[in-house]
């Protein structure tokens, strides 16, 4: 009885390459050994598949060989397109530079934009400055500090009582510090959007860095437009104040409504 497993000999057995005696012994073993029988089935299938291989038709001609013999360095056939290791390294380096360049560009470009979301989060997490701020000197154009403070308080009270757009509420009003100057900041939030309005006396100028500023007419109101990629920033003036509206909305009707609201609010407070 053949007791040793016969994995190595299975191919030769399937192809009739073994001697007759060995073939008989293997046949007996396969009959009794389940593991070898299973492998034999697998190898038989492999042999059946491999028998489908056939020799391909040759496409090489003597003329090509002769040509190559005459000029050994030149290959007759065009060959496949390949990239050398050096080219691959160069391409990979170039790709890396492009990615780094794009990231840096994106970083600096986005850094120039007004990040309203971040600003709003900061404003919401900070304590509201409801207390009347003591101002030592009144800005030019105001009689005294009290007049300035009264006007500011009146404006804020009106802004809180009646929001410029339906569905928006004043979530914060505070005296902020923009470039070392005192500026009133009013932040409104609606269901889908938020906007902020900075109000300061004309004596406190706004600075927009190197951004382009152009004049525009918004629904009949003359104002200035500050170039921002993702936000709308509008500068408008009312009596002794000037304001900056920063909003993610690009809807000009909505922006015009806000500007008109603040202009009329200022006129009303000046009148009173």
């Amino acid at each position: 009885m053949w007791s040793r497993h016969i994995r190595r000999e299975l191919s030769a057995y399937c192809e009739g390459e073994l001697q007759e005696e060995l073939t008989h012994r293997l046949r007996d073993h396969i009959r009794i050994c389940r593991r070898c029988r299973k492998q034999h089935e697998e190898v038989s299938r492999g042999v059946l598949l491999a028998r489908h291989l056939r020799r391909p038709l040759c496409e090489l001609t003597w003329g090509e060989i002769e040509q190559a013999l005459l000029n050994p360095r030149q290959r007759v056939t065009p060959g496949r397109a390949y990239l050398s290791l050096r080219s691959r390294t160069l391409i990979a380096t170039a790709c890396l530079f492009v990615v780094i360049g794009y990231s840096l560009f994106h970083y600096f470009a986005s850094g120039k934009n007004v990040d309203l979301d971040r600003y709003l989060t900061q404003v919401e997490s900070s304590e509201p400055d409801l207390a009347r701020q003591q101002i030592a000197d009144a800005p030019p154009g105001f009689k005294d500090a009290d007049e300035y403070a009264a006007l500011r308080a009146a404006g804020i009270a009106q802004a809180a009582a009646e929001p410029p757009l339906v569905g928006y509420t004043l979530i914060r009003h505070r005296i902020g510090n923009v470039a070392g100057k005192e500026v009133s900041q009013l932040v409104y939030r609606g269901s889908n959007n938020s906007f902020a309005v900075f109000v300061a006396p004309h004596a406190v100028p706004f600075s927009f860095g190197k951004r382009e500023i152009g004049s525009t007419t918004l629904d009949g109101i003359r104002c200035q437009h500050v170039s921002c990629t993702y936000t709308s920033a509008l500068v408008f003036s009312a009596a002794r104040f000037h304001c900056v509206l920063v909003s993610k909305s690009k809807d000009y009707k909505e922006l015009a409504a806000i500007v008109r609201y603040f202009l009329s609010a200022h006129k009303a407070s000046e009148g009173s």
């Binding site: 191919s11 190898v43 492999g46 291989l53 020799r55 040759c58 090509e64 050398s84 691959r88």
Partner: protein
Amino acid sequence: MPVLINKEVIEKCQAGDREGFRALFEAYRERVYGIALYFAGDTASAKDVAQEVFLKLFTCIKQYRGDASFDTWLYRLVVNCCIDERRKRRRFLPLDFLLGRTSMERDAATEHNHLRVEISDVVQLAVQKLKPKLRVPIILRYVEELSYEQIAAVLGCSQGTVASRLNRAHRALARRLGHLLDRTASGRTASEKSHVV
């Protein structure tokens, strides 16, 4: 019509006779190209390898001393050239993915799409995906129809090693393409049934 190669032709080639080279080329070009194509996978590379083999053959034929059979000597040269070429090209990235698939793959895919799968084409592709160590014995056995003894002589190893490698290659093919045999068997049964009906 195959050209018979005898000692005289080889001696002519060793003497640098061009007609002798031509006779040798005509006698072996299909065998050399066949192995190269199965090894390289596409016709352009196969032509390159076959060309390289013949150039090497014509320059090195003086080294053939007649100890072994000329066929065995030549097969060894072809296998070595294929392995060298593969080693050279491993350092390169093929741009086929930019240009599209190889003609062999494209043909197979087209046929597959038309539900006319030629088993031989699929087996060719599966053989090309085997490790070189398993691929060479399969090519020599089924394309060149060499015996285990001849394969062992070409590869410079024992017959037991050849048997073992073929065994592994057969099992790999069966695992990858066994379903094709089931399909053809079921197809045949269905067609037989339809004939009966």
